[in-house]
């Protein structure tokens, strides 16, 4: 039996009838048509599918779409403010925090959550905070640098901080 799901993704309301077994990530990609959120594993390790659900970072491959009914979601497509990149996106660009780019949306979404929780993390806190995301290209060196640099930018421009969990609360 299909269930009705109403979700807000990046500020826009979506309404669909879905099978209960439809994973949230498949809903976002195949039904809502937002393909920036990626799938990299079957067992909730890689974090490529990380999005924000009501402001909290979760792995959208380990949640059913029906569970998201009534929730407010932010995906990578919703992070930038129009043409203006989010400071974390800018930092990933500036610090070469990505190579193939497949894991990147997940890392950026997790980093946004991390910095919302802890605006001035130490390197160890960043590494621990990113433990739920796997990258095969960068050796994490420049990802850590990007998060450090974004933290600096965001703390020196407090007005921008409100966009950290865009769509969240």
């Amino acid at each position: 039996m299909k269930h009705k799901v109403v979700v807000t993704i990046n500020g826009r309301k979506h309404e669909h009838e879905v099978e209960p077994r439809l994973l949230l990530v498949h809903y976002i990609r195949d039904v809502a048509g937002l393909t920036g959120t990626h799938i990299g594993c079957d067992t909730s390790q890689c974090g490529a599918c990380t999005i924000h659900v009501d402001g909290k970072a979760v792995k959208s491959c380990t949640m059913f779409a029906v569970q998201a009914d009534g929730r407010n979601l932010t995906t990578i497509e919703g992070l930038a403010n129009g043409d203006e990149l989010h400071p974390i996106q800018q930092a990933f660009w500036d610090e070469h925090g990505l190579q193939c780019g497949y894991c990147t949306p997940g890392f950026i979404m997790e980093a946004a959550y991390l910095l919302a929780q802890n605006p001035n993390p130490t390197e160890d806190e960043i590494r621990k905070g990113l433990e739920g995301n796997l990258c095969r290209c960068t050796g994490y060196v420049n990802i850590v640098k990007a998060v450090q640099s974004a933290a600096k930018t965001m703390s020196s421009a407090p007005a921008k901080k409100t966009t950290v969990t865009a769509g969240g609360n």
């Binding site: 937002l34 067992t43 193939c100 780019g101 739920g132 050796g139 060196v141």
Partner: protein, 785 residues
């Protein structure tokens, strides 16, 4: 190379804006109207006879379009899996391989049936309803047992399990040196089997248009032209009927070079169903079925003199081919040819490679392919010599290095190393690591019963494949050169088409830097295109073996040179000067000695489409170039790893890692550093964490998910200290070498040497990978007895 603004600068990547905002285009982001989905039924057994397949229930399941087994593909696909012939020239047995098994399955995961249905979920449901009756056969898993006469066979009808056996040089080459040696050290060195795990798994979307008889294949590939070549041949189509598009590729590491069964089956299914068909590999399928890397062991002995001079080596490579030869599996045998490393072996090297079939998924190149194995074995052996002679490993290395004045240096297998300065990079790495202080610290900690180890790896690499004379026999005729095409529009916009294909290396940026500089135009005027066989040259060779810049980049530069040459002809005409008096610099053609008499590149481009061109000059401004490099290129470097081992738990903690690498001239230092970071960490992962484990009796994969196959996270990896030396390559005009694999080639040896160094007070000489806490603890316990 001219002094320029863009080359050598840290230019932000042009591909990033789409990738950081979620607007990249990876395979699963594509769909076609009316797409149906494929789900494959795979053998749960390592080796079994397929007695029957019952598709009744699956055929009736909701949404199922069709269910197909081997028989259905017999009229659709012909031929066997392509393999490199040259590397397997001696004693060899190459089992036939059809993309879907009919009577016998030879590894866990081999395809026996496929369901096509209206949705992913329906396809998966249908596949679950297929009943296959198997008769299990003995699985051949152990390399040494597989070689024995009377062993069970990987393929029941095969003659034996020997995929190849090539003695490159006989024992007589090194007899004298071993006879005269002061010391001989021996070791068996394992190379763990690894799963490449690109973060984006593979996938295929195929659309066959029945009326036009044209096929478009979207797939995540490092070498789209090779896929077009193989798939068109198997499907009975001309290459111009097939278009292969490899969009943004989420990592490859070698696992997306060769064709896979699904690359043939999905297009064939599209032709059979007359629908676009899509298949996306799951991570579990990926770990089980994407070609693995390494999976080898080496028996090595080294003869040395008391003063630390190494004289000769004997090495035998035992390589796990898996159930079928990977297309480029034989390339991994280059470990033998590179076993001498950065050192002189005046007494010779005896080398032999034996490729052994087992009931596992095939192995194929994985980042470094043969060269990490060579580095690992020679760097381990150098340390064993140092240990035996109670010398500092630094001194043994320096004593045996090929020296700067020796280049070009012809090594033991006739390969000519183009350039190098090994001592320089080692000294720099030692200084960055604080080597002498580390040795003091080590001595102090040892007194407290603590185990600190310092490991070196003075690695060299052969890459930039490759000269046509060397590679054409190896690929069965198609030489690994590279092509490029440069087209300039009337308004001076530049479109560059390359036969290489980035899967994270940032070619859109690096190559554009190169072109923009050479033409003196802004980067925004240059658009780099790759990955679509319908665009650019007739054939492209792909990205692997650290070849893109050293071969592809040079081809681009050559094509730009041709455009400039034509531009000079036109400019000379416009400026009423002799062609040989025209100078091109900073984006402008001017008459020698009269910089005011000039035409901008854009003006010449516009004029090239007009009338009144000089006699014999055709309209347009474009050129194609192929670059056949005269030699391979030879990066090198020195890495230092510092490890402390917990005396109680055996846990090896990486305290520090220093990498000094030399890849010749650098186009974009930021991208070069990034390649080093990723490569080093992949090798650290091999040294400490990763291993594909099969049950030795049943052949069942035990590390099928990322829970068990241990890719490290940011939390396990220390900050890396990365620096460089620059020794331009004399092999190409750009002076560049490759850097994509360097880190992976270098780092496992440094880490394991550090672990062995740490444990040396206990008399432990060698630790195999992955150096897990359990393994180290057991060794420490035995040693303390």
């Amino acid at each position: 190379m001219a002094v320029t603004q863009l080359v050598g600068a840290k230019i932000h990547r042009r591909e990033d804006p789409r990738l950081i905002t979620g607007h990249g285009h990876y395979l699963d982001d594509f769909t076609r109207q009316g797409t149906v989905y494929a789900s494959f039924v795979r053998s749960p057994f390592a080796h079994a006879r397929v007695k029957s397949i019952d598709v009744t229930d699956a055929s009736k399941a909701p949404g199922v379009v069709g269910v197909y087994t081997a028989r259905d593909f017999k009229g659709q696909l012909t031929g066997t899996h392509p393999t490199t012939p040259a590397f397997t020239a001696a004693k060899k047995y190459v089992p036939e391989r059809f993309p879907i098994a009919e009577k016998e399955v030879c590894y866990q995961g081999e395809i026996v049936a496929v369901v096509v249905a209206g949705s992913r979920a329906q396809a998966a449901d249908g596949a679950n309803l297929i009943q296959v009756d198997y008769e299990e056969l003995p699985a051949v898993m152990d390399l040494e047992k597989a070689l024995k006469p009377g062993s069970a066979k990987v393929h029941v009808d095969g003659p034996d399990n020997i995929g190849w056996d090539i003695p490159y040089t006989g024992p007589e080459v090194t007899d004298a040196a071993f006879k005269e040696a002061d010391v001989v050290v021996k070791e068996r060195i394992l190379q763990n089997r690894l799963a490449p795990v690109p973060m984006e798994p593979r996938g295929v979307l195929a659309e066959y248009e029945s009326f036009d008889k044209k096929l478009t294949i979207w797939l995540s590939s490092q070498s789209p032209h090779f896929i077009r070549l193989f798939v068109s041949g198997s499907m009975g189509l001309k290459e111009n009927q097939v278009r292969v598009i490899s969009p943004d590729v989420g990592g490859g590491f070698g696992s997306k070079i060769s064709p896979y069964p699904e690359d043939y089956l999905v297009p064939a299914l599209s032709r059979m169903t007359e629908r676009p068909v899509k298949w996306i590999e799951t991570r579990t399928e990926s770990i089980q079925n994407a070609t693995h890397g390494r999976g080898q062991f080496y028996d090595v002995e080294v003869a040395a003199k008391k003063d630390g001079t190494v004289t000769a080596m004997r090495v035998t490579q035992f390589l796990d081919i898996g159930a079928y030869h990977g297309t480029f599996a034989g390339f991994q045998a280059c470990a033998c040819l590179m076993a001498g490393g950065a050192y002189k072996w005046k007494g010779g090297i005896t080398a032999r490679t034996i490729g052994i079939l087992t009931n596992r998924v095939p192995t194929d190149p994985y980042r470094g392919a043969g060269r990490p194995e060579a580095t690992h074995l020679v760097e381990r052996m150098i340390d064993l010599v140092a240990l035996e002679l109670k010398m500092d490993p630094v001194d043994v290395r320096k004593k045996n290095f090929v020296q700067p004045e020796d280049f070009p240096f012809t090594q033991n297998f006739g390969l000519v190393i183009d350039s190098g300065d090994y001592e320089k990079s080692l000294d720099k790495a030692l200084q960055l690591a604080g080597y002498s202080d580390l040795r003091k610290k080590q001595a102090d900690l040892r007194k407290q019963g603590r185990y600190l180890g310092i490991g070196l790896s003075t690695w060299i690499e052969i890459c930039g494949f490759g000269p046509s004379a060397a590679t054409a026999p190896a690929t069965g005729g198609i030489a690994l050169v590279e092509s490029a095409q440069v087209r300039v529009t009337p308004t001076g916009a530049v479109m560059v088409y390359t036969g290489t294909h980035s899967h994270g290396q940032g070619h859109e940026t690096t190559f554009s830097q190169l072109v923009a500089d050479q033409l003196g135009v802004p980067m925004e005027s240059v658009d780099l295109r790759h990955g679509d066989t319908a665009e650019g040259t007739a054939f492209g060779y792909g990205t692997y073996g650290s070849r893109s810049l050293a071969v592809g980049g040079v081809a681009v530069s050559k094509a730009v040179g041709k455009v400039i040459d034509k531009g000079k002809k036109i400019a000379a005409h416009l400026l009423e000067a002799a062609e040989e008096d025209i100078v091109f610099e900073h984006g402008s053609f001017h008459v020698k000695g009269s910089p005011d008499k000039a035409k901008a590149f854009g003006e010449v481009a516009f004029a090239s489409y007009g009338t009144g061109l000089p006699e014999g000059v055709e309209q347009g401004l474009e050129a194609t170039a192929y670059f056949d490099p005269p030699n391979l290129v030879w990066p090198f470097g020195a890495h230092v790893a510092v490890v402390e081992i917990d005396a109680e738990t055996g846990n090896a903690k990486l305290e520090k890692y220093v990498a000094v690498d030399d890849c010749g001239n650098i186009i974009n230092p930021m991208i070069v550093d990034g390649q080093i970071h990723g490569g080093v960490v992949q090798a650290i992962a091999q040294a400490l964490y990763e291993e594909v484990v099969y049950d030795e009796a049943s052949g069942q994969l035990k590390t099928g998910t990322l829970t068990d196959y241990m890719i490290p996270s940011a939390g396990e990896i220390p900050q890396l200290i990365v620096d460089k030396t620059i020794t331009p390559s004399p092999t190409n005009d750009l002076g560049v070498k490759g850097i994509g694999e360097a880190g992976t080639i270098a780092a496992s040896a440094a880490v394991i040497n550090a672990i062995c160094d740490a444990l040396s007070p206990l008399g432990i000489k060698h630790v195999d990978m992955p150096a897990s806490p359990d393994k180290i603890w057991h060794m420490m316990k035995e040693a303390r007895k």
